[in-house]
């Protein structure tokens, strides 16, 4: 039997202003019918370009230098647009990363899936079936992907559904043409932990039920391990390692794979904390640095209904500790963090920073207070002004808050670049020239420029690759002991929280469901919600999959 998909020595260049960039360098990959293949790699490794080429939707200005892709015995490297319509969506289909943006908000779910069915029928040459037949088929598909009440869903709009449901709908759409190969491009990245586990389960069950061939791309090796039997590791446009997933997880051969695996934080391992050193260093001053009392934020929607984003939260952050906040998206963690910084006005409640109530401050005193607490944002790509050089970005807080001369600011910016372990010449660069991890370091440098006492970190690693995440986390811990900082660390990733936090609160729908010592929460969760959260976190964790 010949392979269903056979990629031979495939090389792809993208032409840019700076000359061609070699995106794929000699890829060899075969996928047999019934296979589940995972492709792991960090952003920029070329994995998405590779699978998009399989579907004939590679980037513009790209040129195949060498090699070929054949599908079911047919060479599809240089297919005409007309021939592609017989393959795309029908024999090979794809689900995308972000379910929020791939559905048209103006049409009902039923309409969108029916249209896909009609398009496939047209492409196949047969006449388009009747509306009711298509409706029946749509409902069957919705049922197949485990959505309850397909008849009602048929006439609903995308905005009425949650992220997980939308991803299921995209999967249903991809299955509409009864494809031989299903390509999933980071299908879980944009979803919450609990939803991630469900979607992965769904893909697994579909593979079994429909005898699908699946190619799944992810930077999350845990997700790959749940679905894929075979696995390929991509690094800088090359496949550095491929084989059975279990073998790769247990005995990684290539140096990059080893690095990648070591970087994955493990939810089931208690970390050796540096806490001992901290309590020894200054036992005298262990007062509360930041306190929130009965903090509340109510948003009023245009229809007049109230929405409580954060409901009566009280918390106390001790000097020198790392305070974790965990919760799924929509649980109000970011709103809480911004209220602590006074970036959002609380509806009611008090915030006490170092013994001073700051909830009533405004104007100059508020500006002065901002020196002492700083914020590191989730997305380093948009937290820096694209028109400022890195040097300007780091020097900005100094220019605003101090009377330092330009020369002193330059010198301080260089010193800060040194602290965050970036070369001095970065001063002259622009944000778009830096990688995600480097940008996040710049954001941190900017945040510590004024020697603050408290850093609030809002998912500082969620926009970064796993190997980079590990570096940033290590670096944050180093920095804390060097500069005597207190952190409030917000994350949806439980493994990361367990790795670094001393004290943790678990949030759900704007309320604290559980709080206490981090280890205690992980070893003996009291609430059902916490248990469920940890359980789904474990599912995509690497350790659980090693034992399969």
């Amino acid at each position: 039997m010949t392979a269903l998909l056979d990629i031979k020595d495939y090389r792809l260049d993208i032409g840019t202003f700076d000359g061609p960039v070699h995106v794929l360098k000699g890829i060899n990959l075969t996928v047999n019918r019934g296979d589940t293949l995972g492709i792991v790699g960090e952003s920029g490794s070329g994995k998405t370009v590779l699978v998009r080429s399989v579907l004939g939707i590679g980037p513009r200005n790209s040129k195949v230098v060498e090699g070929s892709i054949s599908f079911d015995g047919q060479d599809i490297t240089n297919l005409s647009e007309k021939d592609w319509t017989k393959i795309r969506g029908i024999r090979i289909s794809m689900i995308f990363q972000d379910p929020m943006t791939y559905l048209n908000p103006l049409f009902t779910i039923g309409r969108q899936i029916s249209d896909v069915i009609a398009a496939h029928e047209k492409a196949a040459g047969a006449g388009v079936s009747s509306k009711s037949a298509r409706r029946a088929r749509t409902e069957e598909l919705l049922d197949q992907v485990g959505l309850p009440n397909p008849a009602m869903l048929f006439s609903q709009y995308p905005h009425q559904l949650s992220g997980g449901m939308r991803q299921r709908i995209l999967i249903a759409m991809a299955l509409a043409g009864k494809p031989d190969i299903l390509i999933a491009d980071e299908p879980t990245t944009a979803l919450d932990v609990t939803v991630q586990a469900q979607v992965l389960d769904l893909i697994n069950s579909l593979v079994e039920k429909l005898n699908l061939t699946v190619i799944m791309i992810s930077h999350d090796i845990g997700a790959i391990a749940t679905v894929a039997k075979r696995c390929a590791v991509m690094y800088k446009g090359e496949i550095v390692e491929q084989g059975m997933t279990q073998d790769i997880l247990n005995r990684p051969q290539h140096e990059y794979t080893q690095r990648l695996l070591a970087a994955v934080p493990d939810i089931d391992v208690a970390p050796e904390k540096v806490a001992a050193e901290v309590s020894e260093a200054k036992p005298a001053k262990r007062g509360n640095l930041l306190e929130a009392i009965d903090l509340k934020k109510v948003y009023r929607s245009q229809s007049g209904a109230d929405f409580t984003a954060v409901n009566s939260i009280s918390l106390a952050v001790k000097t020198g500790e790392i305070f974790g906040v965990v919760g799924e998206s929509g649980s109000g963690k970011s709103t809480l963090a911004r209220m602590l910084m006074r970036l959002i006005e609380p509806t009611s409640g008090d915030i006490i920073f170092d013994g001073q109530n700051i909830s009533g401050l405004s104007g100059e005193p508020l500006r002065q207070m901002r020196r002492h607490m700083q914020f590191v944002f989730q997305n380093p790509h948009s937290a820096l002004n694209g028109r400022h050089t890195i040097g300007d970005a780091i020097g900005e807080p100094l220019r605003i808050q101090t009377n330092m001369s330009r020369r002193d600011i330059e010198a301080r910016a260089e010193a800060l670049l040194d602290i965050v372990q970036l070369p001095k010449m970065f001063k002259y660069r622009y944000p778009h020239e830096l990688s995600g991890g480097q940008k996040q370091r710049v954001c941190i440098a900017r945040a510590i420029a004024l020697n603050p006492r408290l850093l609030i970190l809002d998912e500082p690693t969620s926009a970064l690759d796993i190997s980079v995440q590990a570096q940033v986390l290590d670096f944050l811990q180093e920095l804390r002991s060097e500069l005597n900082l207190t952190y409030v660390f917000i994350s949806h990733n439980l493994a990361v929280i367990r790795q670094i936090c001393d004290h943790t609160i678990v949030m759900k729908r704007g309320e604290i469901v559980e709080q206490g010592d981090t280890e205690q929460i992980f070893l003996a969760p009291r609430e059902e919600y916490t248990k469920a959260l940890i359980e789904s976190g474990r599912k995509t964790s690497q350790a659980a999959n090693l034992q399969v």
Partner: protein, 311 residues
């Protein structure tokens, strides 16, 4: 993954020697070379640029190179009136015997002055109001925007006409009137842009380090608004010149014998079609200038708009 593949920065270089100018500004140099590269690829942009450069050169040195400089100040030479184009009078002569070629070339300076002043005043007023309206929101925005819409609701040229009629004809009043009706477009543009930029994370980031509002407006919002403003200004240069010529044509702008293209056509109108060259050449000058600025604006939009920048 459609992310731009960037030239990787060499992180290994870390020596102590002071960097050269070229090294310090490598990023800017690359950016400008990219702009130049994209601009050169488009024929229409290059045509627009050449026309604008030609226009600017003529405006700068025109009075020095024309064969009959006295033609601009209303010299009368009745022996040579209404001559057709020839080697002595390239564009022919008018009813006073003045050389049309000289008058058209010298008129470039007047037109440039008109264009710059109108778009300049309009941009300064419009950007200030727009950025305030967009950033402050609430009733400030409501007042500014309703006032702007009031101006937008009246046809611009008709309003300018009324203002000139009230102030009395003349080139200064004409420019003033056009500037008064020109700013609302900038308010609209800048307000919309500000509304989207102020939601960006880096604005919140600036607030979190304690930046005051003027600082944020000047350092963060304005630089990010600049691309559409530059595009609009370059296109408006052409439109402002055309509008001033229109006012001149109906006799409310520059007064003869001052060499303004619009008022030249206004006089020439009565000599059509037998003395066709009289109105053709000033008309062609207006046409080419407006075309040049519009093509330039189009080209600038293509290189400055990030959506069209796929590399």
């Amino acid at each position: 993954m459609t992310a731009t593949p960037m030239t990787p920065i060499d992180t290994s270089v870390e020596d102590t020697r002071p960097l050269t100018f070229r090294e310090r500004h490598a990023s800017q140099i690359r950016q400008w070379r990219l702009y130049a590269h994209m601009f050169r690829k488009s024929f229409s942009s290059m045509l627009g640029l050449s026309l604008v450069v030609l226009f600017l050169v003529l405006a700068a040195i025109g009075p020095l190179i024309v064969p009959y400089p006295e033609a601009a100040s209303g010299a009368i030479n009745m022996s040579a009136k209404l001559q057709p184009p020839s080697s002595t009078y390239w564009f022919g002569t008018d009813e006073m015997g003045a050389d049309i070629f000289s008058r058209v070339i010298i008129g470039a300076r007047t037109s440039l002055w008109i264009g710059v002043v109108i778009t300049g005043i309009a941009a300064i007023v419009g950007i200030t109001l727009g950025i305030i309206a967009g950033y402050r929101g609430g009733w400030v925005r409501a007042v500014i925007m309703r006032f702007t819409e009031l101006f937008l609701a009246v046809p611009g040229l008709a309003l300018a006409l009324a203002i000139v009629a009230a102030l009395g004809p003349g080139i200064t009043n004409c420019v003033l009137a056009l500037a008064i009706v020109w700013w609302p477009g900038y308010v609209r543009l800048v307000e919309a842009k500000t509304l989207s930029i102020k939601e960006e994370l880096f604005i919140e980031s600036a607030r979190s380090i304690g930046a005051k509002t003027p600082w944020i407006l000047w350092h963060h919002i304005l630089p990010n608004c600049m691309s559409p403003i530059i595009v609009k200004m370059s296109m408006d240069m052409g439109m402002a010149i055309l509008s001033a010529a229109s006012l001149g044509f109906i006799g409310l702008g520059a007064q003869p014998p001052s060499p303004e293209w619009g008022s030249m056509i206004s006089v020439a109108r009565t000599y059509m079609p037998d003395w066709w060259w009289y109105s053709l050449f000033p008309g062609a000058a207006i046409f080419l200038t407006v075309l040049g600025f519009n093509l330039l604006g189009d080209g600038l939009r293509d290189i400055l708009d990030p959506r069209s920048r796929d590399r």
